[in-house]
């Protein structure tokens, strides 16, 4: 890849990062706190691309002037030869297997893969496929905050699960609760409501699951986002994958909702 192509790739990758950072796209992949760094690095990449293009343009101008001043040979041929004589430093390493001269490591071509993935495909946030393959990651909370008095009470799925398992629902009682998550079905077809909890990026995302009982809609599609209303249920089950507890939730109403702005639960970051 020569420098013009590199400038183009740098520009496109920078633009893709800015695009992801300014829309909510980045929230599918990384934590919200990474946004300023993401925008900053996108801008740096674009500046690098512009600087590369500018210095490259100046270099060709200088060589043209040089060639016109010093030789009768055709300008084209001379600049070509000059360019070949200025290989980048790592030619030796990357060409150890290929016997010919080329100017930049071929590995750079791989950078267009995330570009395509981010711009053309924009894969969705991790969903039921990862959730049913990974054990629930519920952890004992350090302490439980006092809940507000609203009715029904909107509660994070992770918050509900830790109150149900580690506090045995004492802070929940018989209150009406509203919980949001996506549907996952285990091998037997039993429905779970899941939220992926995230610390840094989707590579470390882990599911927290609650099992559903009561008035469940007859047909549930995996990955549908639901807002369920209902009450605490003392029933518990074990995740077959890692033997960790999964609390039940007594559903009285389930309403499909669009995917939330931030599909992950980031409460562990606070």
């Amino acid at each position: 890849m020569n420098r013009q192509a590199q400038a183009a790739v740098l520009f496109l990758v920078g633009a893709a990062l800015l695009h992801a950072g300014f829309t909510n796209l980045y929230l599918r992949y990384v934590k919200a706190g990474l946004q300023p760094l993401l925008l900053l690095s996108g801008a740096v990449l674009i500046v690098t691309a512009l600087a590369t293009a500018w210095y490259e343009w100046r270099r060709t101008q200088a060589e043209k002037a040089h060639a016109e001043a010093h030789t009768e040979a055709p300008v084209e041929a001379h600049t070509e030869a000059h360019a070949e004589a200025h290989p980048e430093g790592d030619v030796a390493e990357d060409d150890a297997h290929a016997g010919h001269v080329h100017r930049e490591p071929r590995i750079s071509w791989l950078l267009i893969l995330p570009l395509f993935a981010l711009i053309l495909v924009a894969p969705p946030a991790l969903g039921s496929y990862s959730a049913v393959r990974t054990g629930t990651a519920l952890q004992q909370p350090y302490g439980l905050l006092k809940l507000p008095d609203s009715n029904p009470l909107t509660l994070g799925l992770v918050d509900y699960a830790s109150r149900a398992v580690y506090d045995h629902g004492r802070s929940l009682g018989t209150r009406q609760l509203k919980v949001t998550g996506f549907v996952a079905l285990d091998r037997s077809g039993a429905p779970f409501l899941v939220r992926m909890a995230l610390n840094c990026c989707a590579a470390d995302a882990q599911p927290v699951k609650i099992a559903l009982t009561g008035k469940i809609p007859p047909v549930l599609q995996p990955d549908t986002w639901l807002e369920i209303t209902g009450t605490y249920s003392p029933k518990q089950t074990k995740d077959p994958i890692n033997n960790r507890p999964i609390p039940y939730f007594q559903v009285t109403q389930a309403k499909p909702i669009p995917t939330p702005k931030d599909p992950y639960d980031e409460s562990w970051n606070q």
């Binding site: 760094l37 950078l111 995330p114 590579a203």
Partner: protein, 366 residues
């Protein structure tokens, strides 16, 4: 221009490959992707020899155009859940690491261009045996994860810092900086000794690797890109040239590492971990291997370690010490920055020493 027919043949390959199998497995995708991106380059060079003016901007344009035109079938081929999950993790690792990579590359370019070599000669003790722990401790001031430390360590070696000291810095920086230690403290609220153990274990292994290099390391294993300053080049040109080069190269290797980490995450079953936890020795080995394969950012790995509740604290410590020092994406990036010969020797030695360091530290502190 007749040349347009020449690249058309090789470049039609990559976009058409994915639609062919209905549900391609993740490894198949990975193996097909790597040569697919390489192939346009090869005819380009062959063509250049024959006097063809086929250059990489042209190839790039063709590839971009073809992928945009074929995006319908490509999307369809990638709609299987396993592919979706693979791509999400792949994009996540790249998007998460790029900002830190750019940070490290900027810092390394600044070191290479604006800091005179005499500065390091004065800042580090002359005796390399002493320089190693000093450089290891200096790792505490680079706030970021491992993607930032590789280019910085490369710049240090180019600036005349003894490789042993640069290696100590490379290994300690991602593990002992304040951000990572804070994250560790948050992830292990009931085991504050974990923070101390991580700090001590990582520093110990970093220094041990530095001293090991001092004793048996050979400079011809290192193949550093020269970055020779062209005469007449301004500092600005040198700076941006270094940034461009490092982002393109380290970024390419980062993509390679992200692909392997995503493959593991998407296809490997999580249940084998449960059986591994029962035996203390196997548990330590299993988590060390997991740290290498998962390639999680060092700022987040403590949370993952904390979630592996069935494992002993020492096994978790091994996970935290090994991960920031050697993993798939780091190996790829080290191979790119220091050369393959270096990475092939360095990675296994780091892996073994990191496990040993974690076990010793765990026995003393945990």
């Amino acid at each position: 221009m007749a040349i347009t027919t020449e690249p058309a043949a090789p470049t039609t390959d990559p976009p058409q490959q994915p639609p062919a199998p209905a549900t391609p497995a993740a490894p198949a995708k990975e193996s097909s992707a790597a040569p697919a991106k390489e192939s346009p380059d090869a005819p380009a060079n062959a063509a250049a020899k024959d006097g063809w003016q086929l250059n990489s901007p042209l190839v790039l344009t063709m590839v971009l155009l073809l992928v945009v035109l074929a995006q319908g079938p490509i999307r369809q081929a990638l709609s299987a859940p396993v592919m979706q999950s693979w791509m999400t993790v792949f994009v996540a690792v790249v998007v998460q690491a790029l900002p830190f990579l750019v940070l490290g590359v900027l810092l390394s370019a600044a070191i290479a261009v604006f800091v005179p070599p005499t500065f390091f000669a004065r800042a580090l003790p002359n005796n390399p045996v002493l320089a190693v722990p000093v450089a290891g401790m200096a790792g505490a001031i680079l706030p970021g994860c491992e993607c930032a430390s590789v280019p910085v360590a490369g710049a240090l070696v180019r600036r005349g810092v003894t490789p042993a000291a640069a290696i100590a810095f490379l290994l300690s920086a991602p593990a002992i900086n304040p951000i990572v230690l804070t994250a560790t403290a948050v992830a292990f609220p009931r085991n504050p000794e974990m923070v101390l153990a991580r700090f001590a274990g990582s520093l110990l292994v970093a220094c041990a690797m530095g001293w090991l290099w001092q004793r048996i390391g050979r400079t011809d294993w290192l193949r550093l890109p020269a970055h020779e300053p062209h005469e007449g080049e301004t500092k600005g040109a040198a700076f941006w040239g270094s940034v461009r080069h490092d982002v393109m190269q380290a970024g390419g290797f980062l993509v390679l590492g992200a692909m392997s980490a995503a493959t593991l995450k998407a296809v490997a079953p999580a249940s084998w971990l449960r059986t591994a936890a029962d035996n203390p020795v196997v548990a330590i080995l299993a988590l060390s291997i997991l740290a290498v394969l998962l390639s999680i950012c060092s700022e987040a790995d403590a949370f993952v370690a904390a979630s592996l509740t069935q494992f002993s604290l020492t096994a978790k410590l091994a996970f935290l010490v090994v991960g920031p020092m050697i993993d798939l994406k780091l190996f790829a990036m080290q191979a790119g920055t220091f050369g393959r010969g270096f990475a092939l020797r360095f990675a296994p030695a780091t892996f073994v020493l990191a496990i040993a360091g974690a076990v010793v530290t765990g026995a003393v502190l945990l």
